[in-house]
Amino acid sequence: MLLDMKFAYQIAEEVRAQTTSAEAVVQTALARAGVVQQNLNAFVTIATEEALKWARALDARIRAGEDVGVLAGVPVVVKDNICTKDIRATAGSKILSEFVPPYSATVVQRLEQAGAIVIAKANLDEFGMGGSNENSAFGPTLNPWDSSRVPGGSSGGSAVAVATGVAPLALGTDTGGSVRQPAGFNGIIGFKPTYGRLSRYGVIAFASSLDQVGVLCRSSRDLALAMDVMAGHDAMDATSLATDKPMFGAALKQATDLRGLRIGLISELSEQGNSPGVLAALKRTVDKLTTLGASVGEVSLPHAPYGIASYYLVATAEASSNLARYDGMIYSERSGDNGLGQLEVMMRSRGEGFGPEVRRRVLMGSYALSAGYYDAYYGKALKVRRLIANDFARAFENFDLLMTPTSPGTAYPLGEKSADPLSMYLDDVDTVLANLVGLGAISVPAGKAENELPCGVQFSAPVLQDERLVKLTAVLEAHDGEAFAPLAPL
């Protein structure tokens, strides 16, 4: 019999009060991780020895009377494109299959300094490129609600780990929805903060003007705890906001009702193109928001439908540049004999080391940036990005938050979209906008849609107003316990 995993705030309280030990909590988490790995392939690495060593050391410090932090003994799962000292970080790629980072990402360091314990590295779409976890060199992760379906992606393993109660908190990365979409597909919370609020030092880059670290969890309280621990300036990341003061815990304290809150439903994304179940869930959430005192009105973002084209041009262009470093020369896996010469070895290393979707995107990005096409594609995409940012700025003149579905549908069968990359890209229509503009956005559980599968609704806030999103989530959670935090069957 496997013990259920509690919320992070509960675990930390019990571990600090010594009514349980970090070691016992970690043992429980590792036992669940083993089952989830066997059934759903959610992890690239389960760090059994390291996690137990950390837990025992933490318990010793607690017994010695030390305050070990607000996340004492909390097991966390970290997406495998985020560096963890001495535990390999593959980014889901063959080309990094032997990469063992000599340092931890700042976000991981901060979680550990607050007492959290990394128990596993989560499976993902290679370098974060994909929405289904089918693009992993380590095999696909499966959806815990229906194992014939995808868990979403690219932070699919992180989402599955939280939905199945392996850990109450997981880290993901979100370049175009990679935290929010799998959160929706798994019935949990997925939060991408404003660009620059979480350090990216030690995060394996995909598209640097879009990448953000995000949190997957089942409770607004856990989210606030994790964000207050991780956010704030980091000198190691030049894009980290210098004056950031995280106030997530404080925002939670004001979460009583939603009176006076003005929410804009983005009309271009909230009608056609969505499944009936997703639309019904959206409607239920609108009704609930109204009951809780918010006013919900429609707002038009005329350039929102151009988001996918703008996003995929920017993301692939930046990826083609970021991934140039994986060439089998200085580090990363090398293919072919040295006698073949550098260019041939380089081209073989990349051709064999990258999976099909990464190869496709690197080519796309190289094309968008190449002489003669730059203005027509990459430059044009950046202008459209500006138009989208202007649309958001206008909408936020009249609304405090904006709302859409998280994705147009629920989790789909494995293999359904892998032969048609464009169809998979189109699923990101709701989520890419926040990355293009740099806004904070959250996917909150909205109950079940088609095939009894979970779905999410997405809210976005003006830059640096992320705390509003956590407050809103807390109020919804308090009034809709059922949609929130159901554990997926194991």
């Binding site: 990469f99 063992v100 000599p102 340092y103 404003t194 660009y195 620059g196 003007s209 879009l210 030049a238 894009t239 210098a242 151009y306 996918i308 084209a309 703008s310 041009l313 140039a324 020369m329 200085i330 580090y331 990363s332 040295n338 006698g339 010469g341 550098q342 260019l343 041939e344 070895v345 380089m346 081209m347 990349r350 051709g351 064999e352 990258f354 099909p356 190869r359 496709r360 690197v362 080519l363 796309m364 190289s366 094309y367 190449s370 096409y373 027509a376 594609y377 430059g379 044009k380 950046l382 202008k383 459209v384 990005r385 500006r386 138009l387 990359p421 464009l422 890209y425 990355n435 740099g438």
Partner: protein
């Protein structure tokens, strides 16, 4: 606009990717399908619109130049694809033919 066979060969060199013939054809078809979708933004009027390359305005970020302990040579080279006597070892770069 669409990518030709010749264009595809150029692109593979730019991207430093060695691909088989079959995959090259399949990828060419994929890319052309995706490019056809991107055409929608090329028709959009963006006259006078400024490019937005970074979502949040930021400028050169400076910090004090303080000496800190980084990775040792041994730690850094532990990650190397191939190393010898404290150096990275790579295939020859100059063609002697």
């Amino acid at each position: 606009m669409s990518i030709s066979d010749q264009g595809m060969e150029h692109l593979k060199t730019l991207a430093r990717l060695k691909l088989g013939d079959e995959e090259t054809q399949a990828l060419k078809d994929d890319l052309n399908k995706i490019l056809a979708y991107f055409e929608q933004i090329r028709d959009l009027d963006t006259e006078g619109v400024e490019e937005l390359a970074r979502p949040i305005d930021s400028f050169n970020v400076f910090r004090e130049d303080i000496l800190e302990q980084g990775l040792t040579q041994q730690e850094a080279l532990a990650l190397a694809t191939e190393a010898e006597e404290g150096f990275f070892k790579v295939p020859r770069t100059i063609d002697t033919d």
